[in-house]
Symmetry: C2
Subunit: 391 residues, 2 copies
């Protein structure tokens, strides 16, 4: 195991009706003027925004509103948010929505107290200062409610990049599984896929002797395997939603990823897809992961055989472990298809002829060195072959 530090100071408030405590927690964490940042339709339609406003009113905390966050959140709205926060002297940002809204909120939080262009953080600068952020989560997926990460797409060139820093870890996150019951099945499935990707990205490591984190990752994958189909079958299954919601947080606050190298090539390869086609990140990952894993499997056959047996229940083939490793990848693929995720470029809305462009931005965009690194370093040629496996 490698040396590491781990810090996850977010105060989690989990369960039914907890969104009504938003005002109380904003107060507890020192907010006196709030930006409520959200997406659009569903937060308004289902009355959540009204309940949050009422909760702030109850504590006599003033607020301004900024809606309009889209999936794969854009830099344009971030700039708008920063300007609004400065003008209105906002000192607390309350994200009401999913990963996109939370990531956009984190970007505004960092940008408001930074003299330069917030995009600097998305080109490698660590975020060390930010306005406090609280979240009310409406989809279990990105794990942004407990993470120090944010992903934003820059309109100019549609470049999707991540930033990080303990300063943007939410002060509190309100997790009410019932709020996710109104999600369309496709979005629920995309969220489930994203959570599983966060787990696989950590599982694919070159660090030896990581039994405890291997086992924790497998535990969360087993949870997704058990609870995912229950949510697709019955969107109102509160208990299944609850198990997924806690698994989603645990999958990405890094308690199961400490002390080991991680991969993140599936995320990198997918980011180009959702940036170009504006598809759901989870849907992109459903197509990307089996392709990447098939391509890199031989780098560590036993690791893929391990997850195949421990999570997917495959019988170990002791004379030919590669058979087991492949069976595990197939089991993942079939699982993702079974919950309604796309299986190839066509179903995703991606185009074969765009592959050279995808590969170029992926490997050379934003100063990258003609390759991407992770579990395996992948050249332009490797990435081309991986995208071709998705056709």
């Amino acid at each position: 195991m490698q040396n590491f530090t781990f810090y996850s100071p977010t105060y989690f408030v989990f369960g039914k009706d907890t969104e009504n405590q938003a005002g109380e927690y904003v107060k507890k964490f020192g907010g006196s003027k709030v930006l409520i940042h959200y997406g659009g339709g569903s937060v308004v339609k289902w009355g959540l925004l009204d309940r949050v406003k009422a909760s702030l009113d109850k504590e006599s905390i003033p607020y301004v509103l900024l809606g309009g966050v889209k999936p794969n959140p854009r830099s344009g709205l971030v700039y708008e948010g920063i300007e609004l926060c400065k003008k209105e002297n906002v000192d607390f940002i309350l994200a009401v929505g999913g990963g996109s809204t939370i990531d956009s909120s984190k970007a505004i939080a960092a940008g408001t107290v930074y003299d330069g262009d917030f995009w600097d953080f998305y080109q490698g600068k660590t975020i060390t200062e930010a306005l406090p952020v609280g979240t009310i989560l409406t989809i279990a997926a990105a794990g942004s409610e407990g993470s120090p990460d944010s992903v934003i797409t820059k309109e100019d060139g549609m470049i999707k990049r991540g930033a990080s820093g303990d300063a943007i870890r939410p002060k509190f996150s309100i997790l009410n599984p019932a709020l996710t019951q109104t999600l369309p099945a496709y979005q629920s499935a995309a969220g489930i896929t994203d959570i599983m990707a966060h787990l696989y990205e950590r599982y694919l490591t070159n660090t030896a002797e990581v039994e405890v984190t291997d086992r924790l990752i497998e535990a969360l994958l087993l949870t997704m395997k058990h609870e995912g189909p229950r949510v697709i079958e019955d969107p109102n299954n509160y208990e299944a939603r609850a198990n997924i919601m806690w698994a989603g947080m645990m999958a990405h606050n890094n308690s199961c990823g400490v002390g080991r190298t991680q991969d993140w090539n599936s995320h990198n390869i997918e980011h180009e897809l959702s940036a170009l086609y504006d598809c759901a990140h989870g849907a992109g990952l459903a197509v990307t992961m089996p392709a990447v894993f098939t391509y890199v499997m031989k780098h560590d056959v036993m690791r893929f055989a391990q997850v195949a047996t421990r999570v997917w229940g495959c019988q170990m083939d002791f004379t030919n472990p590669e058979v087991t490793a492949k069976a595990g990848i197939e089991a993942l693929r079939n699982f993702l298809i079974s919950i309604g995720m796309p299986k190839n470029f066509e179903e995703l809305g991606a185009k074969k002829e765009d592959i050279p462009k995808l590969v170029d931005v992926l490997c050379n965009g934003d100063g990258r060195p003609g390759s991407i690194s992770g579990f395996v370093t992948l050249s332009e040629d490797d990435c081309t072959k991986i995208y071709e496996l998705m056709i």
Copy 2:
């Protein structure tokens, strides 16, 4: 799943040589005058105390020393520490040792800023204010490095009780697995047993639909099953020590115990043994757990069958699940014996004739109502029978 809040703000610094960063972290968390609290021999003998002092000197942070913490830490030393902290205007407590030292430090931290008798907290009052505490852990066991809990024994009557509160969660905890390599095998095994008990106490729940926390607990039990014997075989196995150390923290910071009722009857029943005979807490648990589980198994046979198959690799007996449930308890008992733990009263140094006294303090001490509650409510008669199973 039940509603819950979860808060684990401790900054963990994990890995080789990290104790040399103690001064840096005391400074980061605002300490300007430190009490270094420790046990005795090994912290001095192996040079750890000198390295910690040097690290504080490097940051020009003054300190006072208070050694002498014993296993099953006593209230007498806590009173002494409180007096010392008040007299010396200490504003930060640095615990260098295992769970006993950390628990004693937490008690001093709470007592120093409290007008009344610190024992109030150990009779049910929540700790809401305390001096900041940092820890340098020397044994993976109690999980106190990441928990809001403290257990102290009051000399008057040898009553062992726990207190709790977010205010005594450590600000930082330095976890260097190499520091645990000098432990005698018996102490290592007792630590492993304590960690496994923290997991079983959470596993035994009456809450339905807790797949994610079930799986996480099982993951940590599987880790202990794999790494425990490796540490007993080779005390210098850093990697096994590292996996156990992170598992020990995760087992007790409650990320795997949220949203579900928990048991803690094994701990309660054991506390009377270590209070009376001053045996190692883990050793007491090794004798207690199989007895308790055997006695309460019929309350939820399928739960015991689940852990038997998922953790201990028992074949499920579908016509008679009780067979599997029992096999799992036997597998746990045999595992604990295999790492060198005692199996009965005699090996523990406990006496059959003390059972009435043990039961009386357990069920009636400190205002208890003639029984203890948890997974199953246990009367004096039940507790008598459980102690008798340990003979």
